[in-house]
Symmetry: C2
Subunit: 401 residues, 2 copies
């Protein structure tokens, strides 16, 4: 009897009726002779509701206590699903992160899973119990309740699958991974499979389906990861190890990111010490620089453009002002509305010329590029947002996305 880890998100647990539906699906799967470990998020908007209460009390609530508060959301879900299963005659037991000894490291509200003691789960599975696990939470070495950082319950599910060496099924409110976000390009195609590498690049380039950390974890332990719709009746997308030479198309997908801002510094001395100092100042403020381009020097001065998360634009501007007034003189421009397009494909490794082809498409459509960065399987472009839709259509057509 194979073990499967399944994860259900908050929107599939919004109401008592939906919880009963999920219980029926699990009962069916159990009757097909699977051993099941089920990871749950909090019901519907519970997490927002709890967060709201905390922030009504304090603008900066204690992180330790925030974790204690938030973790109750998933605890309610696991108890209710377990009650539903037991009432259907399917024996089930719920476990909080703390009970399962999901040991975490780091901050209370942004922890990473360090280890899981899988013996408790194996013991319950051997007693023929469905094991219902609270996602998004753990316990640190001081026995304090912690919650995981981004990726939350997905990470719990993948980490459990990794420990148990089994497949992981993530049920969410999208029915799989598409070549392009269907909201941006309604005729985008759903992928039946995609490689870990490609999915990581897509996710880190703005495709919101899954958090990068979960996919990296799945890749590390080679855990097949299914993304499928809550209802369970539509075939989803399988994320797994794929051989690049078997790929037919050079590009698998296109991700669009509108959450970045760009800053261009004009007239910076062409001195590596100065340039690295500028980026060092920004990094000190925990601001993540994504793309960077630099012009060739003219009169020993260069222009530098880089992108940062939109949310960090004000802070970055303050750092630049300080620099400009105290260190040396330069001017800078900010662009708070840019479009970052990333084409991703494991096929790029074996099929060169994608970058050239992309330039051709953009030139044909009179789209100018502000920054380009490339990795082995991804090329990203910053363009003006008014050209975004034109670029999406042209790229989709050329690469049959």
């Amino acid at each position: 009897m194979p073990i499967i880890v399944q994860k259900y998100g908050g929107s599939s647990l919004e109401t008592i009726d939906k919880i009963i539906d999920i219980a029926k699906r699990i009962a069916k799967k159990k009757s097909d002779n699977y051993k099941l470990v089920v990871v749950l998020s909090a019901m519907g908007k519970t997490t927002d509701y709890l967060m709201d209460m905390a922030f009504k009390i304090s603008k900066n609530p204690s992180k330790r206590e925030l974790a204690v508060l938030m973790s109750t959301g998933e605890q309610v879900s696991i108890a209710l699903l377990s009650i539903a299963l037991n009432s259907m005659g399917v024996s089930a037991v719920s476990y909080t992160g703390s009970q399962l000894n999901i040991v975490t490291e780091g901050f209370h509200t942004a922890s990473r899973i360090a280890d899981i003691n899988e013996s408790i789960i194996l013991n319950e599975i051997n007693k023929n119990n469905v094991v219902i696990v609270a996602g998004f939470q753990g316990v640190n070495k001081n026995n304090e309740i912690t919650i995981l950082g981004r990726g939350g319950s997905d990470t719990t599910a993948v980490a459990l699958a990794a420990k148990l060496g089994c497949k992981c099924e993530i049920f969410t409110d999208v029915d799989g991974v598409y070549t392009i976000d269907p909201k941006l390009h309604p005729s985008a195609k759903k992928l039946s499979t995609i490689s870990y590498e490609e999915m990581i690049e897509l996710a880190s380039s703005g495709a919101g389906v899954l958090n990068v950390r979960s996919i990296e974890l799945a890749e590390k332990y080679n855990i097949p990861l299914l993304i499928a719709l809550n209802s369970g009746y539509i075939e989803g997308t399988m994320i797994k190890e794929l051989d690049s030479t078997m790929e037919k198309s050079s590009i698998t997908g296109l991700a669009v990111d509108n959450q970045q801002a760009m800053i261009t510094l004009n007239g910076v001395p062409h001195d590596i010490k100065i340039i690295s100092d500028i980026f060092g100042q920004i990094a000190k403020h925990d601001i993540n620089i994504d793309m960077i381009s630099q012009t060739t020097p003219i009169n020993k001065l260069v222009n530098i453009s880089f992108t940062i998360p939109k949310l960090d634009l004000m802070t970055t501007m303050k750092i630049m002002e300080n620099y400009k007034n105290n260190i040396f003189t330069f001017s800078y421009e900010t662009f708070d509305n840019i479009s970052k397009l990333s084409v991703v494909g494991i096929g790029m490794k074996s099929q060169p010329g994608v970058a050239a082809k992309m330039f051709e498409i953009l030139a044909e459509n009179d789209i100018s590029v502000h920054i380009i960065t490339t990795s082995e399987i991804k090329i990203s472009y910053v363009i003006n947002p008014d050209k975004q839709q034109t670029a999406i259509e042209a790229i989709a057509k050329e690469f049959n996305l």
Copy 2:
């Protein structure tokens, strides 16, 4: 710096504003140099809300899972109060029953506290932290979450005070213990002190202020127990060890219980084996017989009256029917509307004649008594409910309650 355990009930935690008010009171007490351990119930109607969800899913929800579900209520309270205190600059840490290792025995949803490891609390107190504890919950030896039986959070508070050897203050929605429930007798007097013994008798005779188990625990460890109003500005009632000879009045209080039903069996053979068998059958169904009276035998037949909780009347009638049809013949009457009055006073020990005085009062007011039971410090009477108010007024007047 003395340690105090305080307990706040659900009605004082109903809203964010009320939680902030409680935090302010605790901050004030802390600034008066007390070391504080604070036990909380769930916010307002949370427990009902959680229970409703469980019973919407199943008429007989898994007890293990019900405990997992219900315990989230107190967990939300402790996190929010701790957030409030920390935001006021008062360092506080929250602990669930499981984190504090409040070890329980018995059923998942009706556990009794077996032991508490007070070292965690002492350690936090020594770090100058206010310790906020989730009431009503613990963990069994299998590391499963449990909830306590009746008395709930009050029991947690008293048990902690017992372990720490300190005073316990229970803040609730009544401002103390009265000679008679003020709803029944508006001119009833509030008691400034009452003995454990008297409070146990009053509570077990229908006075709802505190659960019997909490008071028994306080008596066992000789923990002074203050009952006071949520707002904290009105002097409450102190429950403690009192010397009976120092008492001035023979009766401290009058409790009224309208939750009992009475059954009278007519023509039962005067045979101890038969009578004990009847009560044995009832006990087998976990039905608690409270008062019993038996007439003197006439023709070797006796009449027996006894009281049981109203909720158990149907079951008891079925048992009687079975008995009547299969064992021997007798008739029975049921009275589902009776009034049980109990006068309680430690002074009875040293001042005899209370029973006689009571009979005098009842006779003067033409009130007939169905059953009487007496203990060292309590006399209980079953009367018709239409005479209840007359009896209360007359007893209150006579004993100056």
